[in-house]
Every structure is written in structure tokens, then in C-alpha cells.
């Protein structure tokens, strides 16, 4: 096991990783920007290095400064957390070249699954369903029709140079396709100077379901079941839960097994998340792999009783997984709400500033992963998440009730947060019925 670990991150995840280390008897070295010098994990660290000014590019993204701190701090390994350098295979590489373990997958596995197209190819090889589409550009109408028949209607026409929905068309049948194809090509040409388009099946009201994976260096791969992250705003997850509501047992099983197949095929180690979208018929399609620990990992910890960060550290240090798939028995229902320093009434604009007062909710089955306390100043330089409120209860309805209670207990003075917005979501009939999709927030709550 390691003696000393450097935590190359900030905020709640830095504290989360530090807690795991301390409970394992591992010393922690933290690096921080000038904006974070008063953070609690800086106080709790065995050693702390200021690595630069507030802006991430001058501090948390400075590989040389972090490695230098790691060498002076004489650490055995680096935990990258999420974001920042966590999926940077070059940083991963540099750590290993300096004989410092990178707590995560190998640079090779990271690149293999990090690149969307490579990952998509690997998924096909591993017999993991992907969204059916034309591999490559559509040259002409005949080809379009041929491909459309293969992948099935409705189809989505996408500009290869695409972005912002320009050059996008949905076609429900051949007639519509013929008309839409030319429109899309012209629109794409006008917008991007490139008329190249391709086809894929259009998925209506998709849900976001992901599978937590953990793998050791002995070929053991386990899934820790799924998380449903369909409550999103502009592709930003707001609420995550496990198990996924209304997902049939058979689909759940196949989804998790598919994730394991893909990860095995890539020779992936340590923790990772395989993301899928699930359509209204509960068919699932692979989207991408996140080669790191994720913000919402506590949801999985709560239902499985497994500490993911400790397991990450353990397998990185060369130990085999301490459990088998059969040992992993989920219990109850967990929900997480991300508490962001944002003002929902002003289009969720960030509200950095000093937290004058805070009452932190607690109680049976309640967890608040956060680095803030009264007097803490939320810096304007980083993402606006100040904490994650997580509850575990016997069933989904109890979990919703408990989360509502916790959200009303969470009193914060000095900055605006998304707490009340979460109450709006949790008390909405669609959420209670578990029928939200990834566009639901914009459609039902924000468009009105």
C-alpha cells in the first residue's frame, strides 16, 4: 500500500480523496492555487504546496508544478480526481515516467477509450450496441435511403462539420428523408462551408444511464450497477440516482454486462464509467467511457456499501479487488443533488462569494460531500459546485421525501444556490414517476 498520495485537484473531491487516504492511514500532500489556500483539505493535509495563481491554467493544469510538488513531497502516487488533468494521458504518462503511480487507468487504456471513435469501434467489437448510423459520409440520396433502411427510421441527418443543431434534420420516412437530405446538405454547406452529412438513428426522449466499473490488474472486472443521470440542464447533470427508475431487470442486467465486456476488451483498469443512452423501448446504446472517478460516484457507494476511492487506491497499488461480482448486492435507493452556487432565476449564472451562514442537513442515510462551511468564500475561477447532497433510503419514494426534507434544511446565506430548483424537480409528477429524459428540464421547467 502507499505511504503518501498527492491529490491533484480541489474542492469537494480533494476532500473526498483525502478522507479515504486518512482512513487508510495514508498521508496526503495537496496542491492548491492562491484562491484555495483557506480550503479545509489544505489544513488537513500532511503537506500542502501553493502551485500558482487562481486561474486553473496557472495552477491546477500546471503539470510541471504538480510533479515538482509530488517529488518534493516524496509521494508514491497521485490521485487526479475528476476534471482538470484526470483524463489527460500525457499527465498520466509523466507521472509514471517519474515513478509516481497515477491512480487511474494506463495511458494506453485511457486513450483507447478516451477517443470517441476508437471507443465506438471497440464497442462494436465487444458486441456492445451503439447508436446505428452510417459509418462515414452520405454521398447521395440512394445511399441515404439504403443506410436509412438498415438503421431504421426515424433517422437523424447530421452535418459532419456540425454544431449548434445546424444542418440537422429528423426524417420519419423515405419521403421526408429525400427532402431533408438536400436541405441539410445546403444548410451545412452554408454554415460550415462543408456539405458533408451522415445518418444515425434518431433517439426520441433518451435517458442517460451509466454503469460504474472497477477493474484490478489481475483481469478482475466488476460493475457496481447503474446510475440514472437523466436530469440534466445543457448536458450538465443535476440529479443522479441508483437504481435507474423504470428500467426493466433484463435491460439492467444486459446493460451492466455490456459495460463489463467493453472494459475487458480495452484492458482497462481502475474505476471507470460506461455511459449509455436508453430509448423509450429500453434499448440501450453506448455513448462514451469516462476514464476517471465521477462526481456522482457516492450514489453508487451508498447502494453498494463499497468505498470507490479506497478501492481505486487499493487496485492502483497492485492489490486484487477485495470482492467478486456476486458480493456486490445493492441495497435501497440513493439520490444525489448537486448543490451549485448558481442563480436559477438568472439562467443559472454562477454566484461566487462568501458563505455567511450555512446549516448543513444531516440525519439517518444522509450524506453531504462538501468542503464548505460558514465563512468559506466560493472562488469565481472554478466550477460552481459547492457540495453534493446524497440520501439513501429503502425505496425511491422515501429517498425523494428525505431529499426534500434535506433541501429545505439546507440554509445558505451569502450566495444563491440551486437547492430550491432541486425541490421543484423532486416534487414534479414526471420525476416522481421516473419518466424524465435528458431534455426534460429544458422542456418542462425552463422553457416556461
Amino acid at each position: 500500500m502507499y505511504n503518501r498520495i498527492l491529490i491533484a485537484n480541489r474542492g469537494e473531491i480533494a476532500l473526498r480523496v483525502q478522507r479515504a487516504c486518512r482512513e487508510l492511514g495514508i498521508e496526503t500532500v495537496v496542491v492548491y492555487s492562491e484562491a484555495d489556500r483557506d480550503a479545509p483539505y489544505v489544513r488537513f493535509a500532511n503537506q500542502a504546496f501553493c502551485i500558482g495563481p487562481s486561474r486553473s491554467v496557472d495552477s491546477y493544469l500546471k503539470i510541471d508544478q504538480i510533479i515538482s510538488a509530488a517529488e518534493i513531497g516524496n509521494v508514491d502516487a497521485i490521485h487526479p480526481g475528476y476534471g482538470f488533468l484526470s483524463e489527460n494521458s500525457h499527465f498520466n504518462e509523466v507521472c509514471r515516467s517519474c515513478n509516481i503511480d497515477f491512480i487511474g487507468p494506463t495511458p494506453e487504456a485511457m486513450e483507447k477509450l478516451g477517443d470517441k471513435n476508437q471507443a465506438r469501434q471497440m464497442a462494436k467489437i465487444a458486441n456492445v450496441p451503439v447508436v446505428p448510423g452510417s459509418d462515414g459520409l452520405i454521398e447521395n440520396e440512394e445511399e441515404a435511403i439504403k443506410v436509412a433502411r438498415l438503421i431504421g427510421y426515424p433517422v437523424l441527418i447530421k452535418a459532419t462539420a456540425g454544431g449548434g443543431g445546424k444542418g440537422m434534420r429528423v426524417a420519419a420516412n423515405e419521403l421526408a428523408l429525400k427532402a431533408a437530405l438536400e436541405q441539410a446538405q445546403n444548410e451545412a454547406k452554408a454554415a460550415f462551408g462543408n456539405g458533408g452529412v451522415y445518418l444515425e438513428r434518431f433517439i426520441d426522449k433518451p435517458r442517460h444511464v451509466e454503469v460504474q466499473i472497477i477493474a484490478d490488474h489481475f483481469g478482475n472486472v466488476c460493475h457496481l450497477h447503474e446510475r440514472d443521470c437523466s436530469v440534466q440542464r445543457r448536458h450538465q447533470k443535476l440529479i443522479e440516482e441508483s437504481p435507474s427508475p423504470r428500467l426493466p431487470e433484463q435491460a439492467r442486467k444486459e446493460l451492466c454486462e455490456a459495460a463489463v465486456r467493453l472494459v475487458k476488451a480495452a484492458g482497462y483498469t481502475n474505476a471507470g464509467t460506461v455511459e449509455f443512452i436508453v430509448d423509450q423501448e429500453n434499448r440501450f446504446y453506448f455513448i462514451e467511457v469516462n476514464a476517471r472517478i465521477q462526481v456522482e460516484h457516492p450514489v453508487t457507494e451508498m447502494v453498494t456499501g463499497i468505498d470507490l476511492i479506497k478501492t481505486q487506491i487499493s487496485v492502483a497499488s497492485g492489490k486484487p479487488l477485495p470482492f467478486t461480482q456476486a458480493d456486490i448486492v445493492p441495497r435501497g435507493h440513493a439520490i444525489e443533488c448537486r448543490i451549485n452556487a448558481e442563480d436559477p432565476s438568472r439562467n443559472f449564472q454562477p454566484c461566487p462569494g462568501k458563505i455567511e451562514k450555512i446549516f448543513i442537513p444531516g440525519g439517518f442515510g444522509v450524506r453531504f460531500d462538501s468542503h464548505v462551511s460558514a465563512g468559506y468564500v466560493v472562488p469565481p475561477y472554478y466550477d460552481s459546485m459547492i457540495g453534493k447532497l446524497i440520501v439513501l433510503k429503502e425505496n425511491r419514494n422515501d429517498a425523494i421525501q428525505s431529499m426534500m426534507r434535506c433541501l429545505s434544511e439546507l440554509e445558505i446565506q451569502g450566495i444563491r444556490t440551486t437547492a430550491d430548483f432541486h425541490k421543484q424537480v423532486l416534487s414534479h409528477a414526471d420525476f416522481v414517476q421516473g419518466i424524465v429524459d435528458t431534455k426534460w428540464v429544458e422542456r418542462e421547467l425552463l422553457s416556461k
Binding site: 489556500r37 483557506d38 501553493c50 500558482g52 510541471d64
Partner: protein, 177 residues
């Protein structure tokens, strides 16, 4: 919040409500009686005066942790939240004419070009902005650090081969010298 004067409402009568003379007298009053705040309003007119610093309480940091320096440019006034060592020296050398050279990076500090050589600079020595004051080694790279200021070295704040991090005060320079 340092001394601040804030007013709202630009409507009539503002001149006399916000007369500098009155504010000056109010502030004297506050100083005299250690007032923290005066807040005067009339309809949309308002006079609000705040004195002194609202202390941002910093919990005690473990001794081994080089984190007790306030944000500041690489060359700046002595940090307002001084470390134990800075505390000791603050009394000795301080004032507007004293600037502190701080470490621009994390690394190991070398005060000599090599173990046998003399230090780059000594206390009392005059320096120019180009003078190399030390080397900081980071990832096997030896970075020569220029003074970036003209003056006389009055104090060397770190020991040879000591680990330093970003913003750590290294030298105090008297810019009058």
C-alpha cells in the same frame, strides 16, 4: 472591507446629504469612538460608512504547511497574514520601501550556484533587476531567478536547499538602498 464610502440615489438634495464635510466629521466621530459602521438614509438617499477590516477568520494551519502567505504578485509588499518567521522579522524590516521577492514556482531553493561557491547575494549587497538572486530546481530543471527590483538585500528569508512553493517570500529588498 477596508474604509469604504458607498452612496445610492443621485436625486436632489444629494449635495448636502453627501457633503464631504459632513462625511469627514462622521468619520472622525467613528474613529474617535471606534464605530464600525454609520448608515444614514432619507427616502432613496443614503450615507453608509464602514471602518476597519472585517477579519476573515483563518483557522490555525499545521506548522509543516507553507500555506500562510496572502495572495500577492511575485514582487509585492510583505504579506498581511504573516507566517511565524515573517512575524518575527516584520518588526525588524518593513514599510513602503521594503519589497519582498517571492518564489514564482514550486521547487527546491538554491542560494549558491554550486555547493562550493559563494551565495548569489548577501545581506547588504546592492542588486539590479537583472541580478540572479537564487536558483529554484523543479523537475531537474534549474531556474535562475532574477531580482526584478533594484535595491539592497536586507534579509534572506529561506535556507539553502529548502523546499519552496509559489508565492513563498525569499528575500526582502530595501528599494531606497
Amino acid at each position: 472591507m477596508a474604509d469604504s464610502v458607498e452612496n445610492q440615489g443621485q436625486e436632489g438634495g444629494a449635495e448636502d446629504v453627501f457633503s464631504v464635510e459632513r462625511i469627514r466629521r462622521l468619520v472622525e466621530l467613528m474613529k474617535e469612538h471606534d464605530l464600525r459602521e454609520i448608515d444614514l438614509r432619507h427616502s432613496r438617499q443614503r450615507i453608509r460608512l464602514c471602518r476597519g477590516v472585517e477579519e476573515v477568520p483563518v483557522m490555525q494551519a499545521p506548522a509543516m504547511m507553507p500555506a500562510a502567505y496572502a495572495p500577492a504578485p511575485v514582487v509585492a509588499q510583505p504579506a498581511p497574514a504573516p507566517s511565524a518567521s515573517a512575524e518575527k522579522t516584520a518588526a525588524a524590516v518593513d514599510g513602503p520601501h521594503i519589497v519582498t521577492i517571492k518564489s514564482p514556482m514550486v521547487g527546491t531553493l538554491y542560494l549558491r550556484p554550486n555547493p562550493k561557491a559563494e551565495s548569489f547575494v548577501k545581506v547588504g549587497q546592492s542588486i539590479t533587476p537583472e541580478t540572479t538572486v537564487c536558483i529554484i530546481e523543479a523537475m531537474k530543471v534549474f531556474n535562475e531567478i532574477p531580482a526584478e527590483v533594484r535595491g539592497k538585500v536586507v534579509e534572506i528569508l529561506c535556507g539553502n536547499e529548502e523546499p519552496v512553493d509559489f508565492g513563498k517570500p525569499l528575500f526582502k529588498i530595501d528599494t531606497r538602498g
